[in-house]
Every structure is written in structure tokens, then in C-alpha cells.
């Protein structure tokens, strides 16, 4: 049996500049992350462009785009109320970007020789910045609308004074953890899923290389498993985008309506 090569599941998350050798030379470089972000952007543009031709009778494509916008409009309206419309642009942007980045990252572009697909949302710097934007919107809207009264967010109404002393710090901590948890969720979901795919994809190759009947059997099993996990990955990508949009809408609701 051939010695199995060491599995390196972290390699796929490495950011490497395109056209030069190292990241050291300059902080401003065109990396594979930037390239795939542009690809995601182009895909979103193509999708929206094809569906916003204002046909009187919507075709399939326009129906898809209208379904998407209607879905997000529903999220903002149900969670924030009549004012939710104002915050639809950011919720829509975050949802569509995370969804497209997750799904494009899960596509099997690797079968093209030389192509190195990269999942943009598998970097905490990307999802973290998105969650910080959500958090800043909450802060700005909250202080703009309510002034210093915004701090009453930490103190539930009609609570005994002793309990207020206890609850206020807890609420404050849970409020400050929000940007962290919001960005961690889509990042780790993609990160963990892609590690799993990489490891079991390696098992397929190593089983074939082993050359024994058991090796082929394990390869076949792992191949079926990888297909299943890929399907799960698409589901998780959609759910994470939905959860990000939903939680953003909920947090903005806190700032707008001060529960």
C-alpha cells in the first residue's frame, strides 16, 4: 500500500495574491479572495440584470428576482414593521452576497484544471466586516432616533429594581457579543463544511490509490458521502444567509422600536 499523503484541509483557505509571489510586498494586492468576490459580484449583477427588465408579464427569470426581493421585503416588514422598507437595501445586500458567495464556493469549479475556487465567506474578515456594518447601523439608528434613551434597551420595562441591576449587565454583554456571533456564524459554517469536504475528498483519492478491494469500497462510500455533504452544504449556505438577514432585521428592530 502506498504511503498516504498528508491531508492539508487548511490549504484551500489560503489567501494568495494573483500575479505576484508574496503578500509581504504590499498590503494592496489582487488576491484570489478579491477575484472570487468579483465573480460573486458579477453573478449577482447578471442575476439582477436579467430580472429587472420591467416586463409587464414576468418571465421565469423576473419571477425569480421578484420572489427574492419579495421574500426579503417580507423579512424586514414582519420584523421591523412599516419602517422596515428603509433598511431593506442592507438586508438584501447582505443576504444576496452571502447566499451567492456560499453557493459559488460550493460549486465544483475544481474539476477545471488550474482553477482554484475560493469561498469568500470562509474568511472571518469578510463576514466580520458585514456584521460590523449591521452593528453600526443598529448603533447609528438607535442613537439617531432615541438619543441617550437608546440605553433603555438594556433595561426591560416593569422589572423590579433588584432584577434590573442584574439584567442590565447581562443585556449589555449580549448586545456587545452580537457583531461577533453574527459574523462567526456564516464564517464557521462555510469553514467547517469545506474542511469536511476536503477531508472526505482526500479519502476518495487515497482509497483509490490504495489499490485494494477495501480501498475501492471506502472510496465509493466516501464519494456518496461527499455528494450528500455537498447537498447539505447548499442547504446550510441558504440557511446561513437567511439567518444573517433575519438577525440583522431583528437587531435593527431593537434599535427602531426599543422593545
Amino acid at each position: 500500500m502506498a504511503a498516504a499523503a498528508k491531508i492539508d484541509p487548511m490549504h484551500q483557505f489560503q489567501i494568495a495574491p494573483i500575479g505576484s509571489d508574496s503578500l509581504v510586498a504590499s498590503p494592496f494586492q489582487f488576491t484570489n479572495s478579491s477575484l472570487w468576490m468579483l465573480i460573486v459580484f458579477a453573478a449577482i449583477m447578471a442575476f439582477m440584470w436579467g430580472g429587472t427588465k420591467r416586463q409587464l408579464v414576468p418571465g421565469r427569470w423576473q419571477a425569480a428576482v421578484e420572489g427574492l426581493t419579495g421574500f426579503l421585503d417580507n423579512i424586514t416588514r414582519q420584523n421591523i414593521g412599516a419602517e422596515g422598507r428603509k433598511y431593506l437595501p442592507w438586508v438584501f445586500t447582505a443576504f444576496v452576497f452571502i447566499l451567492f458567495a456560499n453557493w459559488i464556493g460550493a460549486m465544483p469549479f475544481g474539476i477545471v484544471p488550474g482553477a482554484h475556487p475560493f469561498t469568500v465567506t470562509s474568511q472571518f474578515s469578510v463576514t466580520g466586516v458585514m456584521s460590523i456594518i449591521s452593528f453600526l447601523i443598529v448603533l447609528v439608528v438607535g442613537f439617531w432616533k432615541h438619543g441617550l434613551h437608546f440605553f433603555s434597551l438594556f433595561v426591560p420595562k416593569d422589572t423590579p429594581f433588584v432584577l434590573k441591576l442584574l439584567i442590565a449587565p447581562i443585556e449589555f454583554v449580549s448586545f456587545m457579543v452580537r457583531p461577533f456571533s453574527l459574523g462567526l456564524r456564516p464564517f464557521v459554517a462555510m469553514f467547517a463544511g469545506h474542511i469536511l469536504l476536503e477531508v472526505f475528498g482526500n479519502f476518495v483519492v487515497q482509497g483509490l490509490n490504495a489499490g485494494s478491494v477495501m480501498g475501492y469500497g471506502i472510496s465509493a462510500l466516501c464519494f456518496v458521502f461527499v455528494i450528500g455533504v455537498n447537498a447539505l452544504e447548499l442547504l446550510v449556505g441558504g440557511i446561513q444567509a437567511y439567518v444573517f438577514a433575519l438577525l440583522t432585521a431583528l437587531y435593527i428592530n431593537d434599535a427602531v422600536n426599543l422593545h
Partner: protein, 75 residues
């Protein structure tokens, strides 16, 4: 015990939390399904809450995973 084996054992122990989160997520969806089958008319309106509960339960599992990764790759 050298550091490398301690790291691997620690990462494995931290990964137990992912299984606990699996139980949590299963409980969220299972209980939702129970309620939804009893009153299907009200189920659609509660989907937002379903996913909030799912997100809260899942986050803790993801944190366990993040801790496992930090332990495993810490130098």
C-alpha cells in the same frame, strides 16, 4: 505528554460540544414539527422564530468547533 498530543486530545474534547449542539438543533426542529403538526395553520407564521432558535442553538456548536480549531492549530 508532549504538546502535540495534548493539542489533539484537547481538540477532540472540544469537538464534543458540536454533538451537544446537534442535540439542541434537533430539539428545536423536532419541537417545531410537533407544534406545526398540531396546528399547521399557525406554522408558517412562526418560521422566523424557528430559525432564531436554530441560530442560537447552532452558534454554540460552531463556537465549540472554533475552539477546537484554535486548540488544534495554536502554536
Amino acid at each position: 505528554m508532549d504538546l502535540a498530543s495534548a493539542q489533539v486530545i484537547g481538540a477532540g474534547l472540544a469537538a464534543i460540544g458540536v454533538g451537544a449542539a446537534a442535540a439542541g438543533v434537533g430539539s428545536v426542529f423536532g419541537n417545531f414539527l410537533q407544534g406545526a403538526l398540531r396546528n399547521p395553520a399557525a406554522a408558517d407564521g412562526q418560521q422566523g422564530r424557528l430559525f432564531i432558535g436554530f441560530a442560537a442553538a447552532e452558534l454554540l456548536g460552531l463556537m465549540a468547533f472554533a475552539v477546537a480549531m484554535i486548540i488544534l492549530y495554536a502554536r
